[in-house]
């Protein structure tokens, strides 16, 4: 339960910090860190415009997308405290529930009959297909390393003893961060601030969403960032007691948001056709972690 409250709290400022960091890096003052949340509240108060092409699929898609992210959040633990749902193999459920949301966001985009949104949908489908093996190999390696198969047990038994396991944790954090970037369609793959529909991925899929629906989609995005932030925090938290862990959690989230902001400020977006290769690289890094896990657990031949 604790994790849910913390993740929701972190979600309120995560994206704000990214935007603020980018603003300061480019020499502007920038909006307050709660501006994204204020935007969402404003959207919830607005009416909606629907395309005459769309059907009920377009209307329910954002709701299901949001719900899938929310339910995925329920499995994420916080240090010693389990998520609301926790069971052996819950990371599989996590990935597949997020998959359900993706399915609906893709068909929601297809429902508008727009060439742009079809383009975004096609890219989203391709990238998410590539990103999943990385996640599964990584979680599999951690399961191998710890001998457990649920998020909470994996993270609470992940002792960072030797130097090689530190290296593994850093690599794992990198992979999680990159998966978070892919899931949220952020910088190295997609530029959320781009102004040309042809170069967008996620942004172009939600061109026709407005009002309440758009608010849900944006909130789901903020939650996703905080969820991955929480997972990365869990990698390092181990068995620290709550009075240290909770402040550390927020420090970590702020740091990650800052990192994302810095990446977005100083990196250019990849060319569209290089994205797929980049995502495959992630799987290779995960494989590296797998071999590391083999070595640590002494199963390497």
């Amino acid at each position: 339960m604790l994790s849910i409250i913390l993740i929701i709290l972190a979600a309120t400022f995560f994206t704000g910090i990214i935007i603020r960091t980018k603003s300061i890096a480019s020499g502007r003052k920038g909006p307050g860190i709660f501006q994204p949340i204020k935007d969402v509240i404003r959207l919830f108060k607005k009416g909606a415009v629907y395309s005459e092409t769309t059907s009920f699929v377009f209307r329910i898609a954002p709701t299901i997308y949001f719900s899938s992210v929310f339910v995925a959040m329920l499995v994420v633990p916080f240090g010693q405290s389990k998520g609301l749902i926790s069971f052996n193999g819950d990371f599989i459920f996590f990935a597949y529930v997020l998959g359900l949301g993706k399915f609906f966001s893709i068909i929601g985009a297809m429902d508008t009959g727009s060439s742009f949104e079809g383009m975004g949908a096609s890219r989203e489908a391709l990238y998410s297909m590539f990103a999943e093996p990385a996640f599964f190999i990584l979680m599999g390696s951690l399961a191998l390393l710890t001998g457990h198969t649920s998020f909470q047990e994996i993270f609470s038994t992940l002792h960072l003893g030797s130097s090689i396991s530190y290296a593994l944790a850093v690599l794992a954090a990198f992979v999680f961060l990159m998966i978070a970037m892919i899931e949220n369609s952020r910088m190295p793959l997609d530029d959320p601030k781009t102004h040309l529909e042809l170069t967008m991925v996620h942004e172009v899929m939600i061109l026709d969403n407005s009002g309440f629906d758009l608010g849900l989609i944006l909130t789901a995005g903020y939650l996703k960032f905080a969820i991955y932030g929480a997972i990365i925090f869990n990698l390092f938290s181990g068995t620290i007691s709550y009075e240290y862990a909770i402040p550390l959690f927020f420090v970590m989230q702020v740091f990650l948001a800052f990192l994302v902001g810095m990446i977005e400020s100083f990196m250019a977006r990849f060319r569209m056709n290089h994205n797929a290769q980049f995502i495959v690289v992630l799987s290779s890094v995960s494989l590296l972690i797998f071999f590391g896990a083999l070595m640590v657990s002494g199963k390497f031949i």
Partner: protein
């Protein structure tokens, strides 16, 4: 005994009656016969699944010997799946066939074949005698062949039918070789002799025997590279036949493989790894090609190959568990395979039936010509969506449950595996994940292009939803899919007995799935309920919030352009363009292109036709060469009667004299030895 008598009598009477009845009578008799057979065999199957095996010996002829019938838990599981598919598919078929009411003879034949197909499939699960088994197998293959040929005036249908006929006979040749091998060694056609043969002979011989059976059954099941008949046969058949073929006919191949695993004593680790590798290849190759297809039913047919791959992964894992005496892996592997067999038969038949509805309404299956059907056929759309989500393995539907069981099996294997097996696990997991991701891509494409957006083609006839009664069995299947997704435990408990058959092979301790990490299924149901409740809650809130707000309907955002046409939509080909470029090496895509040229361009067009690279190399290439080789013997067939009589005489002389000469040679050698 009475049950068996009834089981044989019902189809016999029905088949005799059908040709003499009016249209309505035919329909009623066919459906009544199918239901009766289903009720009768389901009764036996339920008994077997809850503990009481059914066994009976029929007096056979002096050739076949006594014919043993046995319904154990494994047969029972498949029989129930077959019966459900035929009851739902038959009901759907009654209405689907309404469009062909002007062809009474054709329909009579179709009804007869439908009953025969059902009877044959159920009997295959029961018969324990190889000659009777082959006869039933042949009835099944032929009735399926003739059912495919329903629209025989189309040339593509006839080709697909012939292709199926030839390949299913290659399959039967392999089965015959296997059965004759055992029979010639033991002198009996009973299945139990296969077991005793393999127990008394070396493991290499058993492996050979199993591989022969495996190829025979794999052709029916559609494992890569034996899959090439599937993508032709499924689109050609009427919708309910494609649904049944994909749902249960190819599963009889899986049943055969499982049965042979029970009968032949093997080195299970080796065979498990073999099945695992071939299944991962089938799974990934099937879905990779499915994405490229433009024909809706062909796309679904390639997905059957993918799902056979997933089932095979389960069988492979189970065998490895059996070989390494890992009872958790063994039970979860086989349970996953059997569970996915049920799940696939549900969502795949639902997909074929909805595709049938689309065909009914539009008379085309070309994805690029469809679009916007959601407004004309909302109920079909919802049903297709449910099946598409289920086949992509997403919660809260049934596909996720069986895949989860497989993942759990692999994760449990991980803890006591070493280097090579661990690499195997990682590749299997990656394979399964990729299959899931690709399936999602494929079905977002299929669903998005066929049902969403604007119509891409204006039809001369009215496109409208099919009648409610035709949709009724589809709703039943959809409800079943969701029910399994929400209450998987009930069905998993039914699987205890079938799985025990396998664990008992090595006396592994297995009583129930408790403690196998499968408690997780309860939590998954809980998660699924949270998801559903949250969605309903949010939809309620949304409705409440939007009630007070202004809702405007306008055109889709098109970058400021306000007169969009249906042509600017993303098509199926453009949706997968990046993907097909990326994996170019695996595909063979024929292209016909006329580019835009000149200052005042005239017409231009681009046509792509995806083809199967494996089919080109494994089927087309050898066939062409074989034909070239055989062409050299054309001179035999010179059309002169005298020569043909001569050939006949030569044949008769040869067949009489060869044994004689053989005897003479033996005598001569004996004579030489005595010298």
């Amino acid at each position: 005994m009475n049950i068996v008598r009834g089981f044989i009598l019902i189809p016999f009477i029905a088949i005799c009656l059908i040709p003499f009845l009016k249209m309505k009578g035919k329909a009623i008799v066919v459906y009544a016969a199918v239901s009766l057979i289903a009720i009768l065999s389901s009764y036996v199957a339920f008994e077997a699944l809850t503990g009481q095996d059914f066994e009976l010996t029929l007096q056979g002829s002096f050739i076949s010997g006594n014919i043993n019938l046995q319904v154990d838990a494994l047969s029972a599981w498949f029989m129930l799946i077959i019966n459900f598919a035929f009851i739902s598919g038959g009901f759907y078929g009654l209405f689907y066939m309404n469009a062909y009411v002007d062809q009474p003879k054709n329909l009579s034949l179709h009804g007869v074949l439908f009953i025969l197909l059902h009877t044959a499939l159920v009997s295959l699960c029961v018969i324990q005698n190889s000659i009777a088994f082959l006869v039933a197998w042949e009835i099944m293959a032929l009735s399926a062949f003739l059912s495919i040929l329903f629209e025989h005036e189309k040339i593509a249908t006839v080709r697909a039918g012939i292709n199926y006929l030839i390949q299913s006979h290659i399959s039967i040749i392999f089965l015959m070789i296997g059965f004759i091998w055992v029979a010639s060694q033991t002198g009996s056609y009973d299945f139990s002799t296969i077991r005793s043969y393999s127990l008394t002979h070396s493991s290499a011989l058993s492996l050979m025997l199993f591989l022969i059976f495996f190829i025979g059954f794999a052709i029916k099941a559609g494992f890569v590279p034996f899959h090439t008949w599937l993508p032709y046969a499924h689109p050609a058949a009427p919708a309910h036949i494609s649904g049944i073929m994909s749902g249960v006919l190819i599963k009889i191949g899986i049943f055969g493989i499982l049965r042979m695993l029970l009968l032949i004593d093997l080195n299970y680790t080796t065979i498990g790894s073999f099945i695992l590798v071939i299944s991962i290849i089938s799974g990934i190759y099937g879905v990779m090609l499915a994405i490229l297809q433009h024909n809706l039913k062909k796309l679904l047919a390639y997905h059957s190959i993918e799902n056979i791959g997933i089932i095979g992964i389960g069988i492979g894992l189970g065998c490895i568990g059996l070989g390494t005496n890992n009872s958790v892996l063994c039970s979860l592997g086989f349970a996953g395979a059997l569970f996915h067999t049920l799940n696939h038969s549900l969502f795949k038949s639902l997909l074929f039936y909805t595709a049938g509805n689309v065909y009914h309404a539009t008379h085309t299956l070309d994805i690029e010509k469809l679009g916007g059907l959601v407004k004309k056929m909302p109920q079909t759309t919802i049903l297709f969506l449910i099946a598409a989500l289920a086949i992509s393995g997403l919660p809260p539907f049934n596909g996720f449950i069986s895949e989860f069981i497989l993942y759990t099996g692999m994760l449990s294997w991980m803890h006591n595996a070493f280097m090579v097996s661990l690499l195997g696990i990682v590749f299997t997991i990656t394979g399964l994940v990729l299959i899931g991701g690709l399936a999602m891509m494929c079905f977002t494409k299929a669903f998005g292009v066929v049902f969403l957006g604007n119509p891409r083609h204006s039809f001369h006839h009215e496109v409208k939803e099919v009648p409610f009664l035709q949709l009724l069995p589809l709703y039943a299947i959809a409800a079943f899919i969701i029910f399994i997704g929400l209450f998987p435990k009930i069905f998993l408990d039914l699987l205890i007995k079938p799985v025990q058959l396998f664990t008992n092979l090595h006396q592994l301790p297995f009583i129930s799935f408790r403690g196998n990490g499968i408690e997780a299924l309860l939590s998954i149901s809980r998660g699924s309920w949270y998801l559903i409740l949250l969605v309903l809650l949010l939809l309620g809130v949304r409705k409440l919030v939007l009630r007070k707000r202004t809702i405007t309907v306008s055109s889709t955002w098109n970058c400021g352009y306000t007169v969009p046409t249906a042509k600017i939509q993303y098509t199926a080909s453009s949706f997968v363009k990046t993907y097909s470029k990326l994996f170019d090496v695996f595909f063979l895509i024929f292209k016909k292109e006329k580019e835009v040229q000149g200052v005042f361009p005239t017409d231009a067009h681009l046509e792509t036709r995806p083809y199967d690279k494996l089919e080109k190399w494994l089927i087309d290439y050898p066939t062409t060469n074989f034909k070239l080789f055989l062409d050299r013997f054309r001179f035999f067939q010179n059309g002169k009667l005298q020569f043909y009589i001569l050939y006949g005489i030569i044949f008769i002389i040869a067949i009489i004299s060869i044994p004689l000469i053989y005897d003479q040679i033996i005598m001569f050698i004996e004579f030489l030895k005595q010298l």
